[in-house]
């Protein structure tokens, strides 16, 4: 674990400023087997310390890869000088932030170092299984990966913290030819929060998921393009989670609200049907640990849930301490930094549409002509709330029954219009956490949701 060289530097914090000191280690492990060839076999560690100082409405920041008593003092001094420079030229006449609840939250423990051999052997076992059982694939890729983030935080008027957040995943990607010989692709992700040895005990435990992936890619290869236009669809949990994150979540990050996002003029207004509820969970959701729990943020704010949409009405934003004061809201611990050398930004944690009361089978049965969209390879959204996702797997729905599988397509819409069309929400939840959100810095985030029935524009071909 990171040795504490920070707490005994608190006496160096200036009285007229908010100060944060953070020591942080990030690790990444990845092996990639492509058609049985080990094309990537990588271990990466990044470790260092940073200081951020808030003075007169602006921040100064500095970081270094050396972590000693001397370098901690040096980054503190450099951050103070940077804040003073900017305050002199562009200060805003603001005072200190409201004090946050003091304390120290410890969620740290020693992570066992897992040999690279473990990742290679596990991925090789899965690759052999696929190669032997499914020789008709055009190509197969197996990725074993793990990352972790350990943070030691010391702040001037808030909560100190020491946390560790490990994640580990297996990705299996298959390519299969359509009858015309064009390749189609599908991916399945296994894993979640936790170290590789906690999440993956035996390769056999992944076989059923691999078999399901193969079934799906065979269906997709025989699939059809959806008919383009505005359609009634069911978004599966993976897609409704992406909707929560991309189309709504980003627009209600307070820094983007200040930049002019659509959420600004819509606060306290109806943005969805009465069925729609959306929350950014801190560390616990529905009585269980959230996919990627955050207990204290990098500004020293104890993390609590941020309720964003309640019964269809936009009720709040995600804030840092600065924006919370600007909007008269309570910060909920959304200021997060990816590396030691990154400053905290307003980020999501575990953002989800809340489940409803409908049964998925009833939702499918209710649609005469539409689509059930299950998997996505990426999504993007605008500050206007306009969003799009690439859809990599789904089915037609004809007369209340699932029909043929779909080829790759795209769906799009405007979040606050589309959410008003939601008229059924299933009573279950799907969470995903393997991705990275991109916003100046990457950041691991969780997202989730139930199946939702709505109207959406589908791209066809």
């Amino acid at each position: 674990m990171i040795q504490d060289l920070l707490t005994n530097k608190k006496h160096l914090f200036a009285d007229g400023a908010n100060t944060e000191l953070r020591a942080q280690r990030n690790t990444n492990r990845q092996v990639v087997l492509l058609n049985g060839n080990l094309v990537n076999n990588m271990q990466k560690d990044q470790f260092g310390v940073s200081a951020r100082v808030y003075e007169n409405g602006v921040y100064g920041f500095s970081s270094t890869a050396e972590y000693t008593d001397e370098t901690v003092k040096e980054v503190l001094k450099a951050a103070s000088e940077n804040a003073a420079f900017l305050a002199r030229h562009a200060g805003k006449g603001k005072g200190l932030f409201r004090p946050e609840k003091p304390g120290r939250i410890i969620r740290a423990y020693d992570l066992t170092e897992i040999e690279q051999r473990t990742y290679i052997e596990f991925a090789s076992a899965l690759d052999s299984y696929i190669a032997q059982k499914y020789p008709d694939l055009l190509s197969r890729t197996v990725v074993a990966m793990a990352d972790s983030m350990e943070k030691l935080l010391c702040v001037s008027n808030g909560c100190d913290g020491h946390s560790v957040l490990p994640r580990s995943y297996i990705l299996v990607i298959m390519n299969y030819p359509t009858p015309e010989g064009k390749p189609v692709e599908l991916m399945k992700i296994f894993g979640g929060c936790g170290t590789f040895d906690q999440n993956f005990r035996k390769p056999e435990e992944c076989y059923a998921g691999i078999d399901e992936l193969y079934d799906r890619i065979r269906q997709k290869a025989e699939g059809v393009y959806p008919e383009a236009g505005n359609k009634t669809v069911i978004l599966g949990g993976e897609l409704s989670g992406m909707l929560a994150h991309e189309a709504v979540g980003h627009t209600v990050e307070a820094d983007l609200v200040i930049g002019g996002s659509v959420a600004g003029p819509n606060l306290h207004k109806r943005v969805g049907s009465e069925l729609v509820n959306l929350t950014d969970f801190a560390h616990t959701a529905f009585g269980k640990p959230a996919p990627l729990p955050v207990y204290v943020d990098d500004e020293g704010v104890e993390a609590t849930d941020a309720v964003l949409i309640k019964d269809g009405v936009l009720v709040g934003y995600m804030n840092n301490r600065d924006s919370a004061e600007r909007f008269g809201m309570v910060p909920t611990g959304n200021a997060r930094a990816y590396l030691f050398s990154d400053e905290p930004l307003i980020r999501m944690r575990n953002t989800a549409v809340l489940p409803g009361t409908s049964k998925l089978a009833d939702m499918i049965a209710s649609i005469d002509d539409g689509y059930y969209l299950l998997e996505s390879n990426n999504g993007q959204a605008d500050t206007t709330g306009e969003f799009m996702y690439g859809v990599t797997f789904g089915y037609e729905i004809k007369k209340g029954k699932l029909g043929r599988a779909l080829l790759d397509t795209t769906v799009s819409g405007v979040a606050f219009d589309m959410l008003k069309t939601v008229d059924m929400i299933s009573d279950d939840m799907t969470w995903v956490s393997a991705g990275m959100c991109g916003k100046k810095q990457p950041m691991p985030v969780g997202m989730g949701g139930p199946a939702i029935r709505c109207r959406i524009t589908i791209g066809g071909r």
């Binding site: 058609n35 560690d45 970081s63 390749p183 605008d382 799009m388 100046k440």
Partner: protein, 433 residues
């Protein structure tokens, strides 16, 4: 500093050999970044970063391991060499792994290595004031302007030894247009420059981008669906074509065998007016790569020459695996050769189509199918640029599209990392609500 880093890289290679590596290489980097941030139109942050990076890779009996970390003291080098070899030992042998031969060892100094921070701040402030005065409907959601000084050394066990000391300024602006509660899609302009001689507003496409976005506050939607011409603005070409090219000509598509171009080297894959180069040594590219990540001296190359597939963008491993030539550099400094018609003339020739500023789409399928939302875009009708558009989708197939080139503009945008014209393609499906 450079001499110290060269010695460190050599030390890392020696450590690998001492651990039993037959072949080894190391890159050692030290960077200093000074960065100003503007958020919501106001200065918010000034930061200074000092960072290190060391990568090492080892090959023994065809088995390869690699490691990256940000410490390079003697103890860390020894520990990394052990971990790197352990990773190699655990892998399966593959004769395609290799390292670069010693060709010609060189030291390079590029750009303005030391920043003028006072001038950088003044240029930032000047840009903010210019935007407020000349583009009052624009809100700068975020602006990041920085200077990066990089010291880097590369060594391998064949005796290759290079160094680079470079410095450049980088600007990224994310902004949108606003009038009352009406707002445009956000747009991102980027610029890399060696010096601060000119105001930022005069560099790259920043002025043009701001002017375009201000015209997008009132939008219309396309009725139904039609097949028309898509004109890509230069930054959009980078986004859409750059990504698709790597799918077709890069390691992944060729190693998996899914690239439609896998058997097309030397064949016509695009209209003959299209020439696409990857050219870090071009005079318009700022601080372009001089040494590849694998330790070869970087050279420019044409990926597509007059419509013919001239090369693949392959790493040394993939090239050896596939029995094809490796790429002569591994940069993304893309240059698309200018055409002979001005943009106005190309637009005037289009009956119905779309001028696309930004493409928001799913990852393109391996077969080249793409579809997504046309952002920051305008309708083209009867040879004229019409109203700005919202909720408009475009779709097509990359391989087919390259043969349906209507025109390449005479005008090019050079923004430091790329040089791109406007490109017009026929046969694109354009659909509204």
């Amino acid at each position: 500093m450079i001499e110290t880093l060269k010695q460190t890289a050599k030390k890392a290679v020696e450590a690998l050999k001492n651990e039993g590596a037959e072949k080894g290489e190391s890159t050692v980097t030290y960077t200093v970044k000074h960065e100003f941030n503007v958020d919501g139109g106001e200065f918010s942050l000034f930061r200074t970063l000092f960072d290190k990076k060391m990568t090492m890779s080892a090959i023994t009996g065809g088995k390869r391991g690699a490691i990256s970390q940000n410490r390079y003291d003697d103890a860390s080098i020894a520990e990394s060499a052990k971990a790197c070899m352990a990773a190699a030992d655990a892998s399966a042998p593959d004769e395609a792994w290799d390292i670069a031969p010693q060709i010609k060892n060189e030291d390079f100094t590029l750009g303005e290595v030391k920043p003028d921070l006072d001038k950088l701040f003044l240029r930032c402030r000047e840009l903010m004031e210019t935007i407020k005065t000349r583009f009052p409907k624009i809100i700068v959601e975020q602006m990041i302007i920085d200077h990066n000084e990089t010291f880097e050394a590369f060594a391998n066990s064949n005796g290759a030894l290079f160094s680079t000391h470079k410095g450049n300024y980088f600007a990224e602006l994310m902004f949108s247009g606003h009038e009352g509660e009406k707002a445009t899609s956000f747009y991102v302009s980027i610029l890399t420059t060696e010096d601060l001689d000119r105001p930022f507003i005069e560099c790259g496409s920043i002025e043009n981008d701001l002017a375009n976005v201000e015209k997008q506050i009132d939008t219309e939607s396309v009725d139904g669906k039609f097949e028309g011409t898509m004109v890509l603005m230069p930054l959009c070409s980078l986004e859409l074509i750059g990504g698709l090219l790597m799918n077709f000509a890069g390691d992944q598509g060729l190693l998996t065998g899914t690239s439609p171009w896998k058997e097309k080297l030397g064949e016509q894959v695009a209209d003959e007016r299209l020439t696409i180069s990857i050219a870090p040594l071009d005079g318009r590219i700022v601080c372009g790569e001089r040494i590849t990540g694998e330790g070869f001296p970087a050279e420019n190359y044409d990926l597509i020459k007059n419509g013919r597939l001239n090369a693949f963008a392959l790493s040394l491993y993939s090239a050896n695996k596939l029995g094809l030539p490796r790429a002569k550099n591994d940069s993304d400094n893309i240059i698309i050769e200018a055409g002979d018609k001005p943009l106005d003339e190309i637009i005037a020739s289009i009956d119905r189509g779309i001028l696309v500023g930004r493409f928001s789409g799913g990852a393109p399928a391996p077969n080249g199918d793409f579809s997504g939302v046309a952002k920051n875009s305008f309708l083209i009708e009867n040879g004229k640029i019409g109203p700005a558009l919202s909720e408009t989708m475009i779709s097509g197939n990359f391989a087919e599209m390259l043969f349906r080139l209507r025109g390449v503009s005479k005008e090019q945008i050079a923004a430091g990392l790329f040089v791109l014209p406007y490109l017009a393609f026929d046969g694109i499906t354009i659909s509204g609500k």
